[in-house]
């Protein structure tokens, strides 16, 4: 089978996409091509904590789409589904250093953690204070001695938005780190895949599902999840995703939450809103109030069909940081 993609050469996918991104959003970002990273056009901002995230490409708009006022200062895209190396992470860290230190927001994958770690060491050696917060919101994976720990998935978007707002209002590095850790500690996510995706350099589906099978607990690189089951009605699938999320924190009656229904890339909006409808209904039944919401393709796996549900327990601080102005390619309000 010929791989059907709007690409030129698999080797140039990330470069060309980043070049297009830079053209389309020149009002918000600048791009460095070698080493490759995306940075706020007004970086570095003197006295502001810089926030850098990154990881394998193929999850767009994560992370480049979240670079801008009130969110990330820079994003470092690796090859598709492969962590970037330390060099561009270091360069991005230098580019956003405004003298107040830099936070690395890192999804919990061995590759990402190790490469960001190396970059942080190199940056520290140059006198930049770097701290890292590791995102691990995915309840599909047990966080135990017997795994590499929970994966960082769509909850990362919420961490980046809220932490970005804290940095934008002038919080110092300790405070920004504390906000990021707080959001990470209060957000839980679980996903489902209906179809796999095809990584351009591989040219073949990342996994195989029968016509009537779905993968509950899928990772954002097509890593398998908890179980493979037969296709069910949307409401039943939502219930399967929500139950482990709610019991994990746990979320309890009286909680106010942000409900985030994320599309994996290939799922139409009507389906995401059908999922949202049911998720909101279940939360209401449990006495949990949805006070903020987000629906759309924000942490994708190329063209994978599927969704993830994230629930974040809000308080006044997190709510007001969520509401604070943000101006990025993919998330924008208040300016």
């Amino acid at each position: 089978m010929v791989m059907k993609k709007l690409i030129n050469d698999p080797k140039n996918v990330v470069n060309e996409a980043v070049a297009g991104f830079a053209e389309a959003h020149a009002d918000i970002v600048r791009v460095s091509h070698d080493p490759i990273f995306i940075v706020r056009s007004d970086a570095p901002i003197h006295g502001k904590v810089g926030i850098v995230s990154g990881g394998g490409s193929g999850h767009e708009p994560l992370h480049g789409g979240f670079v801008g006022y009130g969110m990330l200062d820079a994003a470092v895209p690796g090859p598709v589904f492969t962590s970037p190396t330390p060099d561009p992470i270091l360069a991005a860290t230098q580019a956003v250093d405004g003298g107040a230190g830099v936070l690395h927001i890192v999804k919990n994958y061995t590759g990402d953690v190790l490469n960001f770690e190396t970059a942080a060491d190199l940056a520290s050696a140059e006198g930049i204070e770097v701290r890292a917060v590791i995102i691990n919101d995915d309840v599909a994976v047990k966080d135990s001695l017997y795994t590499a720990g929970r994966r960082g998935v769509a909850g990362t978007v919420l961490v980046e938005k809220i932490t970005g707002a804290a940095a934008e209002r002038g919080d110092d590095l300790d405070a920004v780190v504390a906000v990021a850790e707080k959001v990470n500690s209060r957000v839980r996510t679980m996903g489902v895949a209906l179809t796999p995706c095809v990584v351009p350099h591989a040219g073949e589906p990342s996994f195989v599902l029968a016509d009537d099978e779905i993968e509950i607990g899928i990772g954002i690189h097509g890593e398998p999840g908890r179980e493979r089951i037969k296709l069910e009605p949307a409401d039943a699938i939502v219930d399967r995703l929500l139950a482990p999320i709610l019991e994990d924190l746990p979320f309890v009656s009286g909680d106010k939450v942000l409900l985030f229904v994320n599309g994996m890339g290939g799922t139409p909006q009507v389906e995401l809103y059908i999922v949202f409808r049911r998720a909101a209904e279940v939360l209401k039944q449990q006495g949990i109030t949805v006070t903020r919401s987000l629906v759309g393709n924000y942490t994708t796996s190329l063209e994978m069909a599927g969704t993830s549900i994230s629930v974040l327990k809000l308080d006044d601080e997190l709510t007001s940081l969520w509401d604070a102005p943000v101006q990025t390619a993919a998330l924008r309000w208040g300016r």
Partner: protein, 228 residues
Amino acid sequence: MTLNEQPDAAPTDALITLDTAWIVRWIRQSAEVLAANRTALNTLDRDIGDGDHGENMDRGFQAILPKLEGLAVETTPGAVLKLLATTLISTVGGAAGPLYGTAFLKASGAVGSVESLDAAALVALMTAARDGIVLRGKAESGDKTMIDAWTPAVNAGASAHAAGSGVGAVLLAAADAASGGAQATDPLVARKGRASYLGERAVGHRDPGAQSTALLLRAAADTALATE
């Protein structure tokens, strides 16, 4: 003799040592083998990971090739290992980049600035490489990672050396043990890396990093034996 020439003749037995030219040949041979195994490694990684391990390793070893062209004659084996380490760190990405990068950085440190490596130095090199990976990745034996190829290799190389083998035999023992170690990852459940998310579902699949380690050590043995 320049670095890119083949030696005219090679001494035999345990007194033989491997010089910078061998390290260069080993890296070139590795690049060739990894390119040939790119798809196979991707496939292993697709089964229990994210399908990019062949891609990542190939990218790294292709990146070092042009740098080997301009090496000064006096470059030591340790210096080439360091160049390999920094190149892998800055081109491979993923988990394998930092892990192999650290391995060869530590290996470079272990061999210091000697001009050629005897069997003892090779054992020290491999031990340092393995320890570097453990330091970064915290994996233990049986976690279904590249460590499961490295540790048997180190042990077998050390035993061969202790039994008086020369460089070729030491590397051959290591390569054989690495192959066996890689194969022995098949029935394991993973506890590190992406494959750890699969639980029981990882059983029956080979760890791609252990497999690439076996390929690298096989290339080392092959080029050393061709030298002898």
